[in-house]
C-alpha cells in the first residue's frame, strides 16, 4: 500500500492540493477555482488527483488543511497559511530568509529564521491594494486577461504612474489614462508597479534579508516580479509552480503529523 500525505490549501479564490510520498517527494498537485464552494472543490480535487494516480483514499496517511477555508475541512490538523508557506518555501529554497506571498485576497511578507521557522510576518490591511484582486480589477478595466498583464507590462518602455492605492479610485484613474490615449502596455506596467510598491513597503517593515522568494498566484506575473525586484533592490527566486507552495507546506506538516 502506498503511503501518501496530502496538503490542502483552500484560499480565497483558488484551491490547491499537493500529494507527497513518505520521502517528501511531490507525487501530484493541482489547483482549481474555489471561491464560494471552496471545501467541496477541495474534496473533489483531492479525490480526482488520487484517482488519476491510481491511489485510494485509504492510502492517505495524513492530511493538513490551510488557507481561509481550512477550519471546517476534514483534516487531521489545520495550520495557518503563514506557517505552511514558510515550511514549503524552506523545503524548496533552504537559503530563503524572506518570503513575499501575493495571493488573491491578501499579501504577506514572512521573515524566516535560518532553521526555517517564522521569525516575523506582516499582512496587508483589509484592503485589495497590493493583491491579486487589484490586478483582476485593473485587467477587467483594460479588457485584458489576467495572465496577459505581465506580457503587456514587459513590452512597455515607461510605466504610467497610478497614484491611488485604493482599488476603486485606481480603477477610475486607469480609465482616465485610457481616455487620455495612454498605451495599454504602459498603464499595465503602472498597475504592476502599484502592486509592487505597496507590497515592498510591507516587506521593508518586516525587514528584507536575502534570499528573497516570491510566491503565490501573482508570482506568475512577470510584470509584478520585475517591478518588485526593482522596488526592494533584490533578485527574486520563484518556484516553477508558485501557486502550490503553501499546499506543499501543509503536506510536509502532514508527513510529520
Amino acid at each position: 500500500m502506498a503511503k501518501i500525505f496530502a496538503g490542502v490549501d483552500i484560499g480565497s479564490l483558488t484551491v490547491k492540493v499537493v500529494l507527497l510520498n513518505e520521502d517528501k517527494e511531490i507525487i501530484a498537485y493541482d489547483s482549481a477555482r474555489g471561491g464560494y464552494q471552496g471545501r467541496d472543490v477541495a474534496t473533489n480535487l483531492l479525490e480526482k488527483l488520487l484517482a488519476q494516480h491510481g491511489l485510494h483514499k485509504d492510502d492517505v496517511q495524513g492530511t493538513v488543511a490551510t488557507g481561509y477555508g481550512r477550519v471546517n475541512f476534514p483534516a487531521e490538523k489545520d495550520v495557518s497559511e503563514i506557517s505552511c508557506q514558510a515550511r514549503g518555501i524552506h523545503y524548496l529554497f533552504p537559503g530563503a530568509r524572506t518570503i513575499i506571498d501575493i495571493g488573491g485576497q491578501d499579501s504577506k511578507v514572512i521573515q524566516l529564521l535560518p532553521n526555517g521557522r517564522v521569525g516575523e510576518f506582516a499582512m496587508n490591511d483589509k484592503c485589495a491594494a497590493g493583491t491579486g484582486r487589484f490586478l483582476e480589477v485593473m485587467a477587467s478595466a483594460l479588457e485584458v486577461n489576467l495572465q496577459e498583464i505581465g506580457d503587456y507590462a514587459a513590452k512597455a518602455e515607461n510605466a504610467t504612474e497610478i497614484s491611488s492605492f485604493c482599488t476603486v479610485f485606481a480603477e477610475s484613474e486607469v480609465i482616465t489614462h485610457v481616455s487620455a490615449g495612454k498605451p495599454k502596455e504602459e498603464i499595465l506596467a503602472g498597475v504592476c508597479y502599484s502592486v509592487a510598491s505597496r507590497v515592498a513597503t510591507l516587506a521593508q517593515r518586516v525587514g528584507i534579508m536575502p534570499d528573497v522568494v516570491f510566491t503565490g498566484g501573482v508570482a506568475c506575473n512577470e510584470g509584478v516580479k520585475k517591478a518588485l525586484a526593482q522596488e526592494i533592490n533584490q533578485p527574486l527566486l520563484t518556484y516553477e509552480e508558485p501557486v502550490i507552495t503553501a499546499a506543499l507546506g501543509a503536506a510536509l506538516y502532514a508527513v510529520n503529523l
Binding site: Y68, V79, S80, I82, D106, V118, G119, F121, M123
Partner: protein, 384 residues
C-alpha cells in the same frame, strides 16, 4: 477551548451593562444625578463625592456609525464615531440619562468631536496636558480638577466637602484594590479563568452603581474562584500560551480578538488597556491634599495621547514579568493615530526585552474575523 461552566457571578457582570439601564432609570427617579465619562482620565471621585453616579459612555458598536458619518469624517476612529452616533440618536440610555458629560482633550478625534457634542449635550471638557513630568502640566491638571469640582457643584446644586471627597477617594480605592486582587488571580499557571471571563467582570463592573455592593460582589467572586482553585478545578489548559493584551479600549465588537486568541490555543491573562489594568493599578494617595492627590494619580495614566508615554512601557514590562506572559497582542483601532504611531515604540521596546509581539489593527465590523484568525494562528504557531 471547550465550553466551561461559569460561576453564576460572571453572568451578573456580563449582563451588567444591560441591567444597568434599568438601574439608572431607577436612580434617576430617586432624584440621583448622573455624570457620563468618556476616558479613564475623568476623576470619578468628584462625581461620587457629589452623591452622583459616574457612568462610562464610550461606545463599542458600529450601529450608530452611519448616523455619525453624516457629520464626522469616515476616516476617523470608530470609538469616536460610535460614541457621537449614540449621542445624537439618543440610542444609548446612559447618554440619555446623563445630566452632565465629562470629556478631556485627549486625542484629536475626541476633542474636536466634543465641540459638536457640546452643542447638543451638557458637556464639560477638561484640558488634559500632553505630558506628565513637567510642573506646568501638573499645575494645569490640578487646576482642571478644581474647575471640574466647581462645575459639578454648580450643575448638581451641591457642595463637595472635604469629608465627601475623602470618603469618595477611599471608596474608589477600595474598588481598585478588590479589582486588582481579582485580575491578579490570573497570575496563576494556569489562570483560574479565561480572558473572556476576566474582561466580562472588568467591563461589567463599570455598570454597577452601588459602590459598596459592587465591592462586595467582586469579593465573593474572588472567594468562589479561590475555592475552586483550592479544590483543583482547572478551567484553562496548562499548555495555553499566556497572552497580555495592550492598545486601544477593548470591549464589545473588539472582543473578537480575545475570542480569536482563546480559540487558537491561548489565554488572555492580563489587559493593559483602559478597560483593564491601566486605570485600576494606581491608587489615589489618601494622606495628602485630596484634589492634588487626585490630579497626580490621574495624570500618570499611560495613554498614547501623552508624549512621551513612558508609563505605558514601564507598566507593560512589569506586567509581562508578573503575569509570566508568553506573548503580547496589541489591538489598535483604525485611524487611532496615537496608538497606531506608538506601535513602533512598543514593538522596539518588547523586542529589546525578547517578548514576542503582534499588533493588529481592526474596527467595529466583523468582516476581518477570518484574517484575524490567520494572523493569530500564525502568531501562536510561532510561539509553539
Amino acid at each position: 477551548m471547550s465550553e466551561i461552566k461559569l460561576p453564576s457571578q460572571f453572568e451578573s457582570f456580563g449582563d451588567a451593562r444591560k441591567q444597568g439601564f434599568i438601574a439608572v432609570k431607577n436612580l434617576k427617579e430617586q432624584g440621583k444625578k448622573v455624570a457620563g465619562v468618556f476616558c479613564t482620565y475623568a476623576p470619578v471621585e468628584l462625581v461620587l463625592a457629589a452623591g452622583a453616579v459616574p457612568i462610562g459612555l464610550c461606545a463599542f458598536s458600529d450601529e450608530t456609525i452611519p448616523e455619525a458619518e453624516k457629520e464626522l469624517p469616515r476616516n476617523l476612529c470608530p470609538l469616536v464615531k460610535s460614541s457621537y452616533g449614540f449621542a445624537i440618536t439618543d440610542k444609548c440610555p446612559y447618554m440619555y440619562f446623563s445630566d452632565l458629560m465629562i470629556g478631556e482633550t485627549t486625542c484629536d478625534g475626541k476633542k474636536k468631536m466634543y465641540e459638536l457634542l457640546g452643542e447638543i449635550k451638557n458637556l464639560h471638557v477638561m484640558q488634559l496636558p500632553q505630558t506628565q513630568e513637567d510642573e506646568a502640566s501638573q499645575e494645569l491638571w490640578y487646576k482642571e480638577v478644581l474647575r471640574l469640582k466647581e462645575r459639578i457643584e454648580r450643575d448638581f446644586g451641591v457642595t463637595i466637602t472635604d469629608e465627601d471627597i475623602k470618603r469618595a477617594i477611599k471608596l474608589k480605592n477600595e474598588e481598585r484594590k478588590v479589582l486588582k486582587e481579582f485580575y491578579e488571580l490570573s497570575k496563576a499557571c494556569p489562570p483560574p479563568i479565561t480572558g473572556s471571563e476576566q474582561l466580562k467582570v472588568l467591563y461589567g463592573s463599570q455598570f454597577k452603581f452601588d459602590q459598596e455592593a459592587k465591592i462586595q460582589e467582586i469579593r465573593e467572586l474572588i472567594e468562589k474562584i479561590k475555592a475552586d482553585m483550592a479544590n483543583g478545578v482547572e478551567n484553562v489548559s496548562k499548555s495555553a500560551k499566556r497572552i497580555l493584551i495592550t492598545g486601544c479600549p477593548l470591549a464589545g465588537v473588539t472582543e473578537k480578538i480575545v475570542k480569536a486568541i482563546e480559540e487558537s490555543g491561548g489565554v488572555v491573562v492580563a489587559y493593559e488597556n483602559c478597560i483593564g489594568i491601566k486605570p485600576i493599578e494606581n491608587l489615589v494617595d489618601e494622606t495628602m491634599d485630596p484634589y492634588k492627590a487626585i490630579a497626580d494619580r490621574y495624570l500618570k495614566i499611560g495613554c498614547s495621547v501623552m508624549t512621551p508615554n513612558n508609563n505605558r512601557l514601564e507598566l507593560l514590562s512589569r506586567l509581562v514579568k508578573e503575569f509570566k506572559v508568553d506573548g503580547v497582542v496589541e489591538m489598535t483601532l483604525q485611524a487611532c493615530h496615537t496608538y497606531n504611531l506608538e506601535t513602533a515604540t512598543i514593538r522596539k521596546h518588547l523586542q529589546k526585552e525578547d517578548v514576542p509581539f503582534i499588533s493588529i489593527e481592526t474596527d467595529y465590523s466583523t468582516s476581518d474575523v477570518a484574517q484575524l484568525k490567520t494572523r493569530l494562528a500564525a502568531f501562536f504557531e510561532m510561539l509553539a
